[in-house]
């Protein structure tokens, strides 16, 4: 058993992190908030880098990697709040033409009736008839709702990749909180020297690292029960982490300019995919009787 990233996986993660830090850094994030809309150039670069072709077999012109690698890549995307219907498009690779190249943007109708990026999509999977635009709480994710209509059952892979994005947020907000706590001074010392702040940060790390083990393991096994567990832990780590990060930032975190609210809002959107965690809890309960 070697439940650790392999050298290839570390290299993949570093490569994706490098690409994203060049093409979607903090400045680009803020620019995207100010002028929403999908960056088609970046989308094509993602395609070239293999973001969508990652799990397509080499024989079919893909990269031929597995769920574990996909999870690492989506974690990085979650870290930097990369905009766009990444999960839906990734899942359509090898099914819809032009996806692997990053030429085509795919939106999907979620079982909860949510559609992300409908107006930007070239292809819509599922029945989006009658979709109503919402004023999205996340300035980086345009949303529609399909009243009444429910698509087919949620793809467990979609759940897992969403959990990987949540893991990225959970990790990132912990780093943001620690950075702030190390440098911000109050009452004559860095606020990170106060136990109350320290313990908020420790809690964020504990949740993120527990979620990481669950998400990576689910990527290895692809077992729906493991995926359900990963989802619950990743949602918790992301939502509570972003909340606590905001608390550590104090008033500064409450401004539009701070990155933390974007993580919180995105975490809320992701947690809604598939209609919330109740079904995962039920699946995990039933598993106990198996």
């Amino acid at each position: 058993m070697r439940f650790q990233l392999t050298d290839d996986q570390l290299a993949l993660r570093d490569g994706v992190r490098g690409l994203l830090s060049r093409r979607f850094d903090g400045e680009a994030l803020r620019a995207a908030v100010d002028s929403p809309g999908l960056d088609r150039g970046l989308w094509r670069e993602l395609g070239v880098a293999g973001f969508f072709a990652l799990r397509v077999p080499e024989a079919d012109g893909g990269v031929g990697l597995g769920l574990a690698e996909a999870v690492l890549v989506f974690e990085e995307a979650g870290r930097v709040l990369l905009p766009g219907p990444l999960v839906a498009t990734h899942l359509a690779a090898g099914v819809e033409v032009g996806v692997v190249e990053g030429e085509v943007v795919v939106a999907g109708v979620d079982p909860g009736g949510l559609v992300e990026w409908l107006d930007e999509a070239d292809v819509v999977r599922g029945d989006a008839a009658g979709a109503v635009a919402l004023k999205s709480v996340d300035p980086l994710t345009p949303l529609h709702r399909v009243p009444g209509a429910r698509a087919s059952d949620l793809d467990p892979v979609a759940v897992l990749l969403t959990a990987a994005e949540q893991l990225g947020t959970a990790t990132r907000v912990c780093e943001l909180a620690v950075q702030h706590a190390r440098t911000r001074e109050q009452f004559g010392q860095p606020i990170g020297a106060f136990q109350a702040v320290k313990h908020l940060c420790a809690g964020m790390l504990v949740r993120a690292e527990t979620a990481r083990a669950a998400v990576y393991a689910a990527a290895v096994t692809a077992d729906p029960v493991d995926i359900a567990a990963a989802r619950l832990l990743a949602d918790e780590a992301a939502e509570r982490g972003a909340r606590d990060c905001l608390q550590v930032h104090g008033g500064m975190g409450f401004t539009w300019e701070a990155e933390v609210h974007l993580h919180l809002k995105r975490a809320w959107v992701r947690a809604r995919r598939g209609g919330g965690g109740a079904e995962s809890e039920e699946l995990l309960a039933v598993d106990l009787l198996a």
Partner: protein, 377 residues
């Protein structure tokens, strides 16, 4: 120990309710959140109506129970908030009333009560945060003027304020609590620049204020030079008293409407959610009782609210955040839609564990001042 009101209090409530029923329909339409001049006019107009009807002083000299009734009835009737009059009526005004000279009181208080002037608050600074007393905005004495330079943050209504209650450092050598003075600064003074501050809710409820060599007459200082911290504490403790009455009433209304919404969209059949709603009902009922308890205590102690305000604020700010968490569960996908008023309220509620003393600071206050635990080294 009772929860009954005296005949006088009941009469006050009845008269107020009657007046509200007549007065509210005469209000002009509510201006949009971005229309600052409109909001100023609307809020001052409402204060003027209260003044004319004999309720203008209610925040100042009514008994705590009367204030409780006033806040409960106005919120229940859907009356406007105190809005632009907030700092004048609840911070700066009471400070001037308690610490100002007769001339200062004559100059500044009547316009506040009559709905003719708007005050804003220049306390917080970007580098001070929870450590308010570490503020750095400097006031240098030059003859009979102070020359003020620095910056302030989280200033509400700065765009339309006439006056600012300003904390400045007048002695940089003294210990941090000892070198602060309280000034009334005219917002029209040269060197005052106001820049809107966008919050995570996307709105510009607050502003930053930049002060560059702003000249303020020494006669605008309330209290002694370097005694501003004590003067400020009077103001802040005044704020803590019945500050959340209207909000608790509003939260209980939101909670009932959530239950109705849940019954409407089928979520009521989920016992997990239903029982969370039930528990929130217990929570907000208790917070209302705690309010009544604190108000009764203030009545006995002569109106000065104690540190019990920290106990209330800790519990309330977390309950309010939990309320909007549950609202998210009730609304499902719609909880992501800013068109639903609740979603904006949810975003605003995120500040409740931070503003006016973070929950971490409040727990220190409770532990040290109520429970007598030692300060850390």
């Amino acid at each position: 120990m009772d929860l009954a009101y005296t005949p006088e209090e009941e009469e006050f409530r009845a008269r107020l309710r009657e007046w509200l029923a007549k007065a509210l329909p005469t209000l002009p339409p509510k201006p949009s959140p971005e229309d600052w001049p409109g909001r100023r006019a609307y809020d001052l107009g409402w204060q003027r109506m209260l003044y004319d009807a004999g309720y203008g002083h209610v925040h100042w000299d009514a008994s705590p129970t009367t204030r409780l009734i006033f806040l409960e009835e106005t919120e229940t009737a859907g009356a406007p908030y105190v809005g632009a009059s907030f700092v004048g009526l609840l911070h700066a005004g009471p400070t001037i009333a308690a610490e100002g000279t007769p001339e200062q009181q004559e100059r500044w208080l009547p316009p506040i009560l009559r709905g003719e002037s708007v005050w804003c608050q220049g306390f917080s600074e970007p580098d001070a945060g929870s450590d308010l007393a570490s503020l750095r905005t400097r006031a240098r004495r030059d003859g009979d003027e102070y020359v003020v330079t620095g910056s302030k943050i989280w200033t509400s209504h700065a765009e339309v304020a006439d006056w600012c209650e300003l904390l400045v450092r007048t002695d940089t050598a003294a210990p941090k609590h000892r070198g602060i003075s309280w000034l009334a600064m005219p917002m029209s003074a040269p060197g005052v620049v106001v820049r809107p501050l966008r919050t995570l809710a996307g709105s510009a409820e607050f502003a930053e204020m930049f002060l560059d060599e702003v000249r303020v007459p020494v006669g605008n200082r309330v209290g002694e030079e370097n005694d501003g911290w004590r003067v400020t504490m009077v103001t802040l403790s005044f704020e803590r008293g019945t500050a959340f009455v209207g909000e608790v009433v509003a939260c209980r209304r939101v909670l009932r409407s959530l239950a109705v919404a849940a019954r409407g969209n089928g979520r009521w059949d989920d016992p997990v959610l239903r029982r969370r709603l039930g528990r929130l009902n217990a929570e907000f009922r208790a917070l209302w009782r705690l309010t009544q308890w604190n108000v009764s205590e203030a009545e006995v102690s002569g109106g000065v609210p104690g540190v019990g305000g920290s106990v209330f604020k800790l519990r309330y700010s977390h309950a309010r955040q939990e309320l909007y968490e549950v609202a998210g569960e009730v609304l499902g996908v719609e909880s992501l839609d800013l068109e639903r008023g609740w979603v904006l309220d949810r975003l605003s509620s995120l500040s409740y564990t931070i503003a006016a003393g973070t929950s971490q600071i409040q727990r220190n206050i409770v532990a040290e001042r109520i429970l007598g635990l030692p300060k850390g080294r």
